[in-house]
């Protein structure tokens, strides 16, 4: 088992994190940004405010959101024995979105702020867990992996129709803020929301790390895992909670971000050439962070109309990965 991919990904993530602090839609001289970051006095108050209030929280959010979504995807792929599972494709992101929509639209925006806030997080969590529960119920009846994915997509559609209804009856202002939220954005976690966001995503990520041993046994399937002493029911509940928590926290703040959860675990598997979660899980976390940081950089390039929505970029990165993997699946070890 090689540690080189992990080392490479760590350095890459670090460099991208730094790049996110020095580059953005507003051009700030390198020296000024450098001074601000090291805590030196600077005359450039604009630079100070942009780097510390905007770029730093956005980079931290991307770092954690990318890791969270990617590892959520990995957990789902192992739990459902299906390399094409992911939070978006199984409808879990839609479930979280519905939770947010209920808070933001149905309550007339009284309870929830534009994005983030505790009620949004709670709504997203309940939505995500409920959808996961539904998918698990279906997985007991629908044995075929591909069919289960289609059921997931159907669940997503039904959830989305509920969201459309909510939008139809909501006020114009709320619909607008919901639509903006739906485009995906890593800059929506303010400094004051940071403790909640960092805290919850950390709990989820740590929980996923603690599940490494049973995850490896689950690669052999439920029957083998049970024979090895894995408490299957408990492992499933923990996996469900962990995925729900990670998807919910990211979705409630940053919107329903597509493809990170589905595609990144594949990038990590191809890079580490391993399905062993002791290597794969850290690699997935890092690759998720790195991908999210790249997407943020691209979105906040000095475009003419400001910052691009995240969901305009993630599919461009994610879809080719999935297509590549499907085309080459007979040559890829973990598919066989």
């Amino acid at each position: 088992m090689s540690r080189r991919p992990i080392l490479f990904l760590s350095i890459l993530t670090l460099l991208l994190f730094i790049a996110n602090l020095f580059m953005g839609s507003v051009n700030i001289p390198f020296a000024d940004a450098f001074n601000v970051l090291l805590g030196f006095e600077t005359d450039n108050k604009v630079a100070e405010s942009i780097v510390l209030q905007s770029r730093l929280p956005q980079a931290i959010t991307a770092l954690l959101a990318g890791a969270s979504l990617a590892v959520a995807g990995l957990l789902l792929q192992t739990a459902f024995s299906n390399p094409l599972a992911g939070p978006s494709i199984l409808g879990i992101t839609s479930g979280a979105s519905l939770g947010v929509a209920v808070v933001m639209l149905a309550t007339g925006g009284v309870m929830g702020a534009v994005s983030g806030s505790m009620t949004n997080v709670l709504g997203a969590f309940i939505g995500a867990i409920l959808t996961l529960g539904v998918i698990i119920l279906f997985s007991m009846v629908v044995r075929s992996n591909v069919m289960l994915l289609i059921v997931g997509i159907m669940v997503g559609y039904v959830t989305n129709s509920a969201i459309t209804l909510l939008n139809f009856f909501a006020s114009e202002k709320n619909v607008f803020s919901y639509t903006i939220w739906g485009m995906g954005d890593f800059s929506s976690v303010s400094l004051s929301d940071m403790p909640l966001f960092v805290g919850v995503s950390f709990i989820g990520i740590i929980l996923s790390v603690l599940l490494m041993k049973p995850l490896n046994a689950l690669l052999l399937g439920d029957r083998y895992a049970a024979n090895l002493g894995v408490n299957i029911k408990r492992a499933r509940v923990l996996l469900l909670l962990c995925t729900g928590l990670l998807t919910a926290i990211v979705t409630s703040y940053c919107g329903p971000i597509s493809f990170l959860g589905l595609a990144v675990p594949h990038v990590a598997r191809l890079m580490t050439k391993s399905s062993n979660h002791h290597t794969l899980l850290p690699a997935t976390l890092l690759a998720g962070s790195a991908t999210a940081l790249v997407c943020t950089l691209v979105c906040s390039m000095p475009w003419q109309s400001g910052v691009l929505p995240l969901n305009a970029i993630t599919p461009i990165f994610g879809a080719p990965v999935i297509i590549y993997v499907i085309i080459n699946r007979s040559k890829i070890e973990y598919f066989n």
Partner: protein, 262 residues
């Protein structure tokens, strides 16, 4: 060496469901297997072979009766301890193609390792010796997906060996394999009972091939389970009657099943 009973089954009734709505599949099952014995479960499809195996590996609860491994009731043993007493080999499709052969066998150490599954020197030695026992030591750095079906089955048997259990249960271990692999697997299992003193119980449709290696037979037919030594079961006509309704007879002299002549 003293003969020890590894598996003990008493007045067991297997089936599905609970209480009044329960469906009985077979009842009054009594048998015991000693250390170093190889036993077959024989019967037609749907006779209850898999249900019996699932019950014996504690995946499924029995309707009544008891199953003891090394003297302890399996339904009162903790999952970790049970995993150190009975190892299972199935023909399930896995998602482990991206694991190295040695990583798959290392999963057999699951009930022995700590919270993160870190392997000690003893664990690693056990993995290597298990691989050697099934003759796959040279493939330890290959991906599971690079192996043939027969080789994969050997790796799963090595995983069972790494579990260091007195009892190994296999559900149709020779299904989907070509003839040389089938014979290889059966004789490998036979060797493990003789050299490693393992007790092995397997279900199979390869009746002709496996009769020659089996010490004991469990014959399931019409909800009834008979337990006999192989020679006795052949002699008294129990093997013969196994597929009688399907018009298949057993020729004691050649050890082969043939269609009954009208």
């Amino acid at each position: 060496m003293e003969i020890t009973t590894v598996l003990e089954v008493k007045s067991l009734t297997i089936g599905y469901g609970k209480d009044a709505s329960a469906t009985k599949i077979a009842e009054g099952i009594n048998f015991a297997l000693n250390q170093g014995e190889l036993a077959l479960i024989l019967g037609c499809n749907g006779a209850g072979k898999s249900t019996l195996l699932r019950t014996l590996s504690s995946v499924q609860h029995p309707l009544s009766g008891e199953v003891k491994i090394c003297g302890e009731d399996i339904f009162e043993t903790s999952p970790r301890e049970l995993a150190q007493r009975v190892a299972a080999v199935f023909t399930d499709k896995t998602m482990a193609g991206g694991l190295l052969v040695e990583e798959v066998v290392a999963l057999g150490r699951y009930p022995y390792t700590g919270f993160f599954g870190k392997m000690g020197r003893e664990d690693r030695e056990m993995v290597q010796s298990s691989l050697s026992l099934v003759g796959m030591a040279g493939k330890s750095k290959k991906y599971l997906s690079q192996l043939s079906d027969g080789e994969r089955q050997k790796i799963m048997i090595a995983k069972a060996l790494a579990q260091q259990t007195p009892l190994i249960i296999l559900d149709e271990p020779t299904a989907f394999l070509d003839l040389p692999s089938r014979i290889e697997i059966l004789y490998l299992l036979k060797r493990l009972t003789k050299e490693e003193n393992k007790t092995i119980l397997l279900s199979t449709h390869d009746v002709e091939q496996s009769l020659s290696v089996a010490d004991k037979l469990l014959l399931i037919k019409g909800g009834e389970v008979k337990f006999k030594s192989t020679a006795e079961a052949i002699e008294c006509g129990d093997v013969e009657s196994l597929f009688e309704e399907r018009g298949i007879a057993f020729d004691k002299n050649t050890g082969r099943f043939i269609p009954k002549l009208k």
